[in-house]
């Protein structure tokens, strides 16, 4: 593995992202609540460019205590998803997992912040 400096941490705004290609390796880096997450830009469904899709709030089914429905609401915890632009599979930014079937998940890439810079750990054979 080799650490690659990608950009300054301030270059990726809150709820923002940057997708980069390093050699043949494509990675999306996301900032949610001041924490950075990175995933390979390959959708586990059919290899679409998942990280280049829309970032959307997680929807929830609003069910009351008496089990009546409010319909759909934004997730009260403020969770955000990466949406693959090919067919709409959604992946939680913080876990990389599909909200319904968490066996379906984006492949994480180690990411770290050092001295205000963002680094990715990338397998050297891929770049």
């Amino acid at each position: 593995m080799v650490d690659i400096r990608v950009c300054k941490s301030e270059d990726i705004a809150e709820r923002g992202r940057r997708v980069v290609q390093i050699g043949a390796f494509e990675v999306g880096i996301f900032n949610l609540r001041g924490r950075f997450f990175a995933y390979e830009n390959v959708c586990p469904h059919f290899s679409g460019p998942a990280c280049q899709g829309v970032l959307a709030p997680l929807f929830a089914e609003g069910v009351c205590e008496d089990r009546t429905s409010l319909g759909r609401v934004f997730d009260p915890g403020g969770r955000m998803n990466i949406v693959c632009p090919w067919h709409g599979y959604e992946f939680d930014i913080e876990t990389g997992a599909h909200p319904t079937d968490n066996r379906m998940r984006l492949k994480p890439v180690p990411v770290s912040v050092r001295d205000g810079d963002i680094y990715l750990s990338v397998p050297d054979r891929r770049i």
């Binding site: 290609q21 390093i22 586990p44 280049q52 899709g53 959307a56 632009p85 067919h87």
Partner: protein
């Protein structure tokens, strides 16, 4: 990587302005898997009428309708079409930018090539297909249009626009003659006018309609079609206004059921009324209902026919046997349970009866790799489904028309042999992934 470190390239977000060749770039990498196949035919891709409607309207052979459409254009994107713009949920609230066509995609204004032909060319090169058969999108609802005659005039205008403006641009773009079943006389006229066009490779009935397909008034039309040797293609569609579907409160529910519903009805009428016996040479194709409905209907009709022979006395074999004589498009291929998918393929004789379709640019499109990654299919079966079956059904010449996948990639994106997408179909990585997930490369 040199001493300075690797080059880092930023990849922009994907929007409806993204070049189709970039949007589908991963498909070009997947195309390496089947690059040696003789022919690949995408038998169902779509025109998004919105961007081209003024042009199509200019072909309307009715002064009043043309005047009406012209004056409605500033408030409605596709005047005269009976879709409900406020219920356009296909793009998942903006999550799937390509759904409505790459409306803002920059095209080459200096090439002289029609804009729609340019979009199709980019798509077929990147998907790695030799031919693409184009269907309309919004026009799929015309069978339910309350205005008498609109379907007839739009069918004429569409066929003229397609044959005069688009098909002459590229022999790889193919079309179908739209049959406005609301007027059988007009269907005769369109068959006579376009059946000889080699790029109009069949006839389509948009299935969303409450029209009994076995009605005697259509028998002369079916005889004419059978005579041409070109197939009759039923294309499914959604319809939320149906009284049963109006109980469904979310688009997903309506979409899942209604795309199957109309083909279930037409297929049932087609078989129970013994149309396969009356038109034994007719090639009949069922499009865009997925495949899960096929074994369901086979078993259901076989079960009933054995008990109620007197109500289907024209049949000389079981409904499932007739269904196995017909043809189907693959998209949207249900792959979440590979055991069921495999059983479906076996029951319907998919290796000879199934044809690959992308449905691009719609949200549930399939790339050719949906077929080439199926773990249970033989190599010959994949070749048949991806192209050879369609070449036979649509009388398409067996000639490679697509560029080499490697050339497509070289022209568009930096490509390295170690790229994760670029696995060959025999590599252990590919086989493992395909078998485990049943879905991916």
């Amino acid at each position: 990587m040199d001493a300075k470190g690797p080059d880092i390239r930023e990849l922009p977000p994907i929007t409806n302005a993204t070049d189709t060749r970039d949007y589908l770039g991963a498909a070009a990498k997947q195309a390496l898997m089947h690059d040696d196949y003789e022919i690949i035919v995408d038998m169902d891709a779509h025109l998004q009428e919105k961007g081209f409607w003024p042009e199509v309207m200019s072909y309307l052979e009715n002064d009043v309708l043309r005047y009406t459409a012209d004056n409605m254009m500033n408030v409605a994107a596709t005047p005269l079409i009976n879709t409900q713009p406020g219920l356009t949920f296909q793009a998942l609230s903006g999550r799937i930018p390509h759904q409505h066509g790459q409306g803002a995609e920059p095209l080459d204004a200096t090439s002289g090539v029609h804009r729609f032909a340019q979009i199709v060319q980019r798509c077929i090169d990147t998907l790695g297909v030799d031919y693409q058969i184009i269907f309309p999108t919004n026009m799929l609802h015309l069978g339910m249009n309350p205005m008498e005659g609109v379907e007839v005039y739009l069918a004429r205008a569409y066929c003229r626009w397609l044959t005069e403006r688009v098909l002459p641009e590229d022999p790889r773009i193919l079309g179908l003659i739209y049959l406005p079943l609301n007027s059988v006389e007009e269907c005769y006229r369109l068959v006579n006018q376009y059946a000889h066009n080699p790029q109009m490779v069949g006839f389509t009935i948009c299935s969303v309609r409450n029209t009994p397909i076995h009605d005697n008034s259509y028998m002369k039309l079916f005889a004419m079609i059978e005579e041409t040797g070109k197939p009759l293609v039923f294309h499914a569609g959604p319809h939320w206004d149906d009284p049963s579907f109006s109980q469904l409160n979310r688009f997903i529910s309506m979409h899942a059921l209604s795309f199957v519903h109309y083909n279930l009805i037409h297929m049932t009428n087609w078989i129970i009324n013994a149309l396969p016996e009356r038109f034994p040479k007719m090639k009949v194709v069922w499009v865009e209902s997925g495949l899960a409905w096929v074994p369901f209907l086979m078993q259901r009709l076989d079960h009933e026919v054995m008990m109620r022979q007197s109500e289907a006395p024209g049949l000389k074999k079981l409904p499932s046997d007739y269904m196995r004589d017909m043809y189907y498009s693959s998209q949207p291929l249900e792959r979440s349970d590979m055991v069921l998918t495999k059983a479906t393929f076996e029951r319907m004789h998919a290796e000879t009866q199934l044809m690959y379709a992308s449905d691009w640019p719609h949200w549930d499109f399939d790339t050719p790799s949906t077929i080439s990654t199926l773990p249970f299919l033989s190599d010959q079966g994949k070749r048949n489904i991806l192209g050879l079956n369609a070449a036979k059904v649509f009388n398409i010449p067996l000639k490679r028309m697509r560029p080499r996948a490697r050339d497509v990639l070289a022209n568009r994106t930096p490509f390295a042999p170690g790229d994760t997408h670029a696995v060959s179909r025999s590599s252990p990585e590919f086989v493992k992934a395909g078998v485990k997930a049943g879905v991916t490369v």
